[in-house]
Subunit: 404 residues, 2 copies
């Protein structure tokens, strides 16, 4: 529905995602409540506040659906396969003609010439070992039947593989079963396609697996590659198409850059990885875009580690840099997370995420601080993440009237 209402102007929208910022109380206070955040407090008092639900009540989102939602896309409508996310996370550029796959190095033994899985993760080989083996495969297997092979090492036993076909792929051509049998003592599964298009892809996959097994046959541990999460680049309209926004992304970690690039954001390259570096990068390109997605990763990392104090300190660090961000004078500022990552849960959670929107067109004066409980008092209420973009466009006067 937004499509026909979208109008352009020269406003600038800044969306800051503090990854996993929502939390739960420890000794009565959440990480946001514990943090000393004078600048955020000041901004909150003159902003619209509320919370968003990333996917649905009670649903804990992965990073893919978490970000799609706050970018304005329904995470139930657009799904990002595991292979795609893995490839993006390792910094691979995924094209429309690619099948992306998550690979796990494994140990097999051979019985009557047939592989039987002994260890599904090859004893979690060191990442360096993975890099050596992956380079060896890439060197030996560059192409199969005209399909280009791109393989990149991840952490420990993990890799991402792209099979780059010469022609566009049909929808459903990634409907292929995992070859990982999920059980030690079983044979790896043959890749099979659910439909004729996928069957063609599966043939290439099976040849690839054979070639890799041949290359690795003398490796003591990682002598096989199990494949999972076959997926194509999702067919998502760009932010320019959907919202009329020329958008860019300032992020450090490859996965978030990858997610941003899926919706057509341009990736801003910069040196360093600190908050200061990100803000400097923003400043440099401030005149060139309408929409700026700035990603802060460490709130989530500390939450995942169960490091409450660490998460508090990242929030405080962000608070110190907030005035510099505001000096850019964005017309609309939104601050939120892609999901909650409470330290007490050491992982993502389902809890609604605090959200703040500042523009000249808000009520304000409803919440004293940017916390889970204070944001409950705000004018936004508890909304689905995918509706945040409606509010950002409205607050930048980029939506025309609906109906006469």
């Amino acid at each position: 529905m937004l499509g026909s209402l979208v109008q352009k102007n020269d406003t600038k929208i800044l969306l800051v995602v503090l990854d996993g910022v929502g939390g739960l109380p420890v000794n009565g206070q959440t990480e946001l409540e514990k943090a000393n955040t004078p600048n955020l407090d000041r901004l909150t008092k003159v902003s619209a506040t509320g919370l968003h639900i990333p996917v649905d009540y009670g649903i804990t989102p992965g990073s893919g659906p978490g970000h799609l939602g706050i970018f304005g896309y329904d995470p139930l409508e657009y799904s990002i396969g595991r292979g795609i996310l893995e490839a993006l996370g390792l910094g691979l550029e995924v094209k429309d003609t690619d099948i992306a796959i998550r690979g796990n190095y494994a140990t097999v033994r051979y019985e009557d010439g047939k592989a039987v899985v002994v260890d599904r993760r090859a004893g979690r080989i060191p990442t360096q070992e993975n890099e050596r083996i992956t380079a060896k495969i890439q060197e030996a297997v560059k192409e199969i039947d005209g399909v280009k092979v791109i393989i990149k090492a991840g952490m420990e036993h993990r890799t991402a593989i792209l099979l780059r076909f010469p022609e566009p792929l049909a929808p459903g051509s990634d409907e292929i079963n995992d070859t990982d049998p999920q059980k030690v003592g079983s044979q790896p599964l043959q890749a099979k396609g659910e439909n004729p298009e996928a069957q063609k892809v599966a043939q290439v996959v099976n040849k690839f697996v054979e070639r890799v097994a041949e290359v690795l046959k003398d490796e003591p541990k990682a002598n096989y590659l199990l494949l999972r999460g076959f997926s194509r680049k999702p067919d998502i309209p760009t932010m320019e198409e959907a919202f009329g926004l020329k958008a860019c992304c300032v992020a450090v970690y490859p996965m978030y850059k990858g997610l941003a690039s899926l919706v057509g954001m341009e990736l801003i390259e910069f040196e360093g990885s600190s908050l200061k570096d990100e803000i400097e990068a923003l400043k440099k390109v401030w005149n060139s875009y309408d929409f700026f997605f700035m990603h802060v990763k460490k709130t989530d990392s500390y939450g995942e580690d169960g490091n409450y104090e660490g998460k508090v300190s990242v929030i405080e660090e962000f608070d110190r840099f907030l005035p510099e961000l505001l000096e850019l004078k964005p017309d609309v500022v939104a601050i939120t997370g892609d999901h909650s990552t409470p330290s007490v849960l050491k992982g993502h959670s389902w809890h609604p995420v605090p959200l703040l929107i500042h523009s000249p067109y808000v009520l304000g004066n409803t919440s004293d601080r940017f916390t889970e409980r204070e944001c409950l008092k705000g004018e936004i209420g508890i909304i689905p993440a995918k509706k945040i973009m409606n509010l950002l466009l409205a607050n930048s006067l980029r939506l025309s009237k609906f109906g006469a």
Copy 2:
């Protein structure tokens, strides 16, 4: 969507339904506000709070949709026919091969051998009279064309009838018009099926009505039976299938047991009907289930009677027993109603119903009391009843992450 995310563990979830607990102010205070509830207050302060909407804004639910919603089923997707509800309410076990019907004893006179309705409720005969007549019918009409007839007396002129067919019934086989013409002076209608399967059922129905009229021909008042609400047992996935929960029901009234059994809950048999009896029953089976539905009826009964003080006293009685319930140490406790029954309305209403969820993973400290107005301040917000189950599963860590 929940289906694929459900995972099992050994947590225990307790859902207490205070039937019709929501209310409206009398002298400024609702029943919940008036009640002295120190234990509930204490629990509320450390719980997530909010309100739920049973079906939709402004919609007053019957007991069927009210309960289906809080059991996690969309009450607009799964409907429970009037005949089924009547049968369940009278404690009949409904099978897949049954057509359930609500029957009303009526008075007819005969003109040229044709029945004409004189009183659609047979002067609201006493229940005892109903029981005598019903027994007489059951004795005389045990079967029609191989279809077993089960008839049970309700209050005054009401009965429930099950026609138990030898084979499974096709969907739509209950699409049969009411035989009640709704008007005095009219002839009772013939039962007609909307489709071939329903037509076969209608033939049996018409024979049944004739046989009953024959049996009752000398009764002074109740000499006819009008039929309404033809319905089959709805095809609802069990709670085990939908949510991976082994669920049981502790309730006194047949209708609520029947609703619970429709979603696959096991019914716990116990002596007595007091709150204390229900709690003792819960204790005995505490080790055998994952999910416990405890139903408290009297809040609704007093509301329906317009007895404000009575409803207040039931809430206070529940409060006194709450500590005993909490001693069971459920991992997740939810307390709510299936709908509101304000004493001032003397009936069910559309008002959102207070909801409390306690688990280790809530913010808490948002509402001081379990009342309509205090729950508005809570972290749950105002949610559709069917989403409560999402939250119960999330809070018991029974949902895996959505998307990578």
